[in-house]
Each structure stands twice: as structure tokens, then as C-alpha cells.
């Protein structure tokens, strides 16, 4: 295995059911693989299980059946604390709503995953956060409380935070969901730039065609299964 380039994310026959008495099967056997450097959209109607799948891939939840490999490592047997460490080192998250910590400044939000992982704040962390904020065009907003930023600016802070740990995979759940067309396009261009420059793999959940159009690969889900998987050349 060592001499083959390993897929960032591999999911085999993933099933996820919720509830104990009334059991609903939300994911009904998903097979999915994401290579490093890939820039992939995950689309599908509301309630088809996109967020559910993203949570499994992001180690925020455990599947009912099937195996998930992250960077070639089976994450099933890992303890909660080991999964937490993996989240803080290999993954970046961009959430749709309420994604930042309102009590902190933009800079502090961005550096938070590093501070949490190492247990204390260092100047190097703040330098790195500052650099990333500059990259997303918010150099002059470092000291702002995130509640004083616009929706699009907040989402760019969230992107900077997702990238601060140098993740191999960023999972973004509707990163442009509450943004206007122009800001949405800006955010997507930003993600794409990072993908091309740093080689970070992206899995982006969206239900907007225009957003999906920014992606080379578009996976479409319907009712808990993958319906189509297209690569645009």
C-alpha cells in the first residue's frame, strides 16, 4: 500500500440508521472514494443524507454499518479521543450556519483549532492565522469580533479556520448556503485556490447547481444512495 497514493477518504457500504423504536435508514449503502487533491461537490435533495454522510466522514458520528478509511486508516476502531485528535490534525470543517465562536475575534477563531490541540496560544499560531486571514482577504478585520462581520466575511473566517491545521481534507457543508451569488462565487474561488495551491482535498455539500459547477467532480445523492458520480473534463 505504501507506494500507492492513498485515497484521502474511502467509504465502503456505509449505512446509517437513526432511532431505536422507529428505525429510519438514512444512508443505504454508500460507496465513495476521494483522492487527494480532489475538489468534489456532493449534491442532492434536502433530507437525502448529505450532512449525515459528511458527519461520518468527519468523524463526528459513527456509521451503523460499513467501513471508513481516512488517509488509509480504518477509523472504526478508534476511541473518541483518538477521533478528536484526527479531527484536529487532518480535517477541516466549514459549517453552514453558526459556524464561528461569537465571543472571540476573527483571528482567535482562526487560530482556535491550533490552540486547542497544543493547549496554549503561541505567537506562531497567531502569525499563521493572520496569514490565512490575509489570504481570504480579511487582513484588516483580524481584531473584529466575528459578530461584527458580514455573512460572507464570517464564512471566509470559517474557511481560514478550516485550513489552519493544514488538513488533508476539508469538509464543507453548504459553505455558501446563506450568501448572495457574488459572495458565493468568491468563496468557491477561494476554496478552489487553496485546493490548487496546497493540494487539500475538498468535499463540498451544496444543492445549488451554480456552486456545483465550480467543481470538477459532482456526486449526486438521492434518498440515501449515490445516484450519479460525474467528472467534468
Amino acid at each position: 500500500m505504501a507506494d500507492h497514493p492513498v485515497a484521502v477518504l474511502q467509504a465502503w457500504d456505509i449505512r446509517k440508521t437513526y432511532g431505536e423504536r422507529v428505525v429510519t435508514e438514512v444512508l443505504k449503502g454508500i460507496d465513495f472514494e476521494l483522492a487527494s487533491r480532489e475538489f468534489c461537490a456532493l449534491t442532492g435533495p434536502s433530507g437525502c443524507g448529505k450532512t449525515t454522510f459528511l458527519n461520518l466522514a468527519g468523524l463526528l458520528d459513527r456509521q451503523t454499518e460499513g467501513r471508513i478509511l481516512l488517509d488509509g486508516e480504518d477509523v472504526g476502531p478508534l476511541s473518541d479521543e483518538e477521533r478528536t485528535t484526527l479531527r484536529g490534525t487532518k480535517l477541516g470543517f466549514v459549517f453552514q450556519f453558526h459556524h464561528l465562536l461569537p465571543a472571540f475575534t476573527a483571528l482567535e477563531n482562526v487560530m482556535m483549532p491550533l490552540v486547542a490541540r497544543h493547549g496554549r496560544k503561541t505567537p506562531a499560531m497567531s502569525d499563521k492565522a493572520s496569514y490565512l486571514l490575509d489570504e481570504v482577504g480579511l487582513a484588516d478585520r483580524e481584531r473584529y469580533k466575528v459578530t461584527d462581520l458580514s455573512g460572507g466575511q464570517q464564512q471566509r473566517v470559517a474557511i481560514a479556520r478550516a485550513l489552519v491545521v493544514d488538513p488533508m481534507l476539508v469538509l464543507a457543508d453548504e459553505p455558501t448556503g446563506n450568501l448572495d451569488t457574488e459572495s458565493s462565487a468568491q468563496v468557491m474561488e477561494l476554496l478552489k485556490a487553496f485546493n490548487e495551491r496546497a493540494g487539500t482535498a475538498f468535499l463540498i455539500v451544496t444543492h445549488e447547481e451554480s456552486i456545483a459547477a465550480h467543481c470538477r467532480r459532482v456526486v449526486h445523492m438521492v434518498d440515501g444512495v449515490i445516484d450519479s458520480d460525474r467528472v467534468v473534463v
Binding site: T84, P113, V165
Partner: protein
Amino acid sequence: MPFELFVAVRYLRDQPFQTGLILSGIGVGVGVIIFLSALITGLQVSIIDRTLGSQAQVFVRPIEEAPRIHPPRGAELLATTVERPPQRVRSIDGWQEVEALLLRSPGVTGAAPTVTGPAFAVRGLGSIALSVRGIELESYRSIVDVESRLVEGNFDLAGFNVVVGTELVRQLGVSLGGRVRIQAAGDRGGVYTISGIFDYNSVTLNESLVFISLRGAQTLFGIPGGVSAIEVKGRDVFEAEALAEQIRDRTGLVAESWMEQNGDLLTGLRSQSMSSIMIQVFVILAVALGIASVLAVSVAQKAREIGILRATGTPSGSVTRIFFIQGGILGGLGSLFGIALGIVLALFFASVARNPDGSATFPVALTPLLYGRSALIAIGVGLLAAVLPAREASRLDPATAIRNG
């Protein structure tokens, strides 16, 4: 700055209203504890001071004479009469050695031989019952600060000098330098000159207690060279009973502590302490519940943010610590307010509660020890109160928290 401290402090600062409210709550609680402790301690010190201002901590006396049994004459042992020996002043055998032994004993800071007995002050046709106490001023000083009670004249017991209380002077209608005849049993007595007048803040003592020289009392009560008691002062007032016990064992004499002699007072002091402790316990409980509920509310409010922290790699242990730190900080800061409030309350009370003559009724005992103890309690309570909220926070499932937040 450590991550957990950074987050904890920010969250406290970010909700100034909540933080301010609970800090005031803790402050009031700690303030009450400080005020109450200072008050009760001050009160008790002053009560004990008043009692022991006129009395030694431990009295060492000769063993009671065994009651004699008188069988009824000419009959079988149908009934017996038990008769106590007649009351008379008796001396401790070899008291000089006993005194030396006591002075060498650990925990003893002073010992004074005294002769105490009943007598009457006679003037004209009237007489007033007295308790005459013969002392050597030198040694008696080390037991009781008797000179501080003097209001007129000086404590001169040479020859036929006597120091009496304000009430006796009034009753007899005499003044400093006046004469009074003191009459004891067995037709022994003499005329004494009043060299000093004391005020013990007690009508009874001011009327009946008089001081003469040790030698004079020995003559008056017919025990030349003897003493009826050795009075002892120990290092700690509240250890007097243990000291008495130790003296009983070492000397084989009767040793009575002030606690035994003032059973009612001690019961009073103890129940006072108990009720003060009870109040403090409930105040602490209320403070703990206050801190716990504020933290629990904060966990609920911040569920989503905790979820985000967890999702981005914060270990659950860090989340636990964040809330413990908040509890500790609240307790610590609150106790600072509380100490300030307690001092203000105590000083205000001391300035209001005054004797008619304007002197403080009693001192409020504000000590660094009290502050330290209160602060420690508050911080401990803060940490304890954080246990449940912290556990709840660390158990939050990040996916659910983010989804439902």
C-alpha cells in the same frame, strides 16, 4: 496562556451580566460568612474575656474531704447519715512544689497561689457577704489582668490594704482611703484601708469580690503558710479542659477548668457557634447552587459552540477544564467582593453597636485567617459546583450540538 484558561476567561467576560450577577451572589454569601464569623468570634472572645478577666482558666484545689458516715447509735445498719465535713478553707499540701510543677508543665503560661474564703464586710449594723481573695500581685498578674480593671487608686495590697469593687464602695458609703471591717469565721478579722477600687462590669463581682494580700488571707482563714488554690493560665482558652485533665493526672489534686465552672456559658457559646456554622453551611450551599445553575445555563447556551470546539479538535477533557476554571474563577473573584463586603459590614456594625459611653460593645474579629479560609471555601465551592455542568458539557455530542444549535 493555556487554552482552557483563555476560553474560560473569555466566556466569563463575554456575558458580563450573568457573570456580574453570580459574582454579586457569591460576594454576598462570602460577605455574610465573614461578617458572621467576625461577629461571633468577636462576641465570644469578649464574653470569654469578661468571664476570664476575673477568673483563671484552671483552678487547682485540694481533694474534697471524704464524707463521714455516721451509723445511727445503738441500731443495726438500717440507715446511715452521710454528712459533708463543715465548710472551711483548706490548704494544698506542699503547694510550693505543686506550683513549681505546674509552671514547668507544657501549655501552662502562668500559675498563682491564692487563698479564697467567705467573709463579711461589716459597717455599722449592716454586713455584706464577701468573697475574699488573697493574692500575690506579682504572680496573680500572670493569670488575670487585674490591674486593667482598676478605676480608682492603685493595686496596693501591702499590710491591711484592700482593693474592692465599685458596688461595695457604694453599698458601704465609703470611698478611696476609707476603712472597712472584714470579718471571717472563727472570730478572725481586721480593719482594712481601701487602696483601690475596681470595676468588673458585674454587679455581683463588684459587690462581693475583694482582694487582700496572700499573707493577710492566710491569717484571716487560719491557714498560715497555706494556699487554698493554685490558679493556672494556659496557652489556649479552649484547651483549658484538657489542661485541667493533665493537671489532675500529674498532681492528684482537684483541677477544675473554667469550662466546668461555667457550664451554662460554655453551652451558650457552643450553641452560638453551632447556629453560626449552620447559617454558614446554608449560605455556602446557596452559593454553590447559584454557581452551578449559572454554569449549567452557560453549558446549555454554549452547546453549539462547545460542539464546534469539539469538532475542530478540542478534547473533551479540555471542555471539562474550561468549566472547572470558570467555577474556580467565579469563586475566587466572588470571595474578593465578599471579603470587602464582610469588612464593610463588620466595621459598620462595630460603629453602630456601641456602649452608652461610646466604646465598642465588642471587637469584631477580622483576621487574615478568616479571609483566607473564606476565599478557599469559595474557590472550593466554585470547583465543586462546576462538576455537574462540566461533565454535561464534556459529554455533548458534537454532531448533535452543531445540528441542534
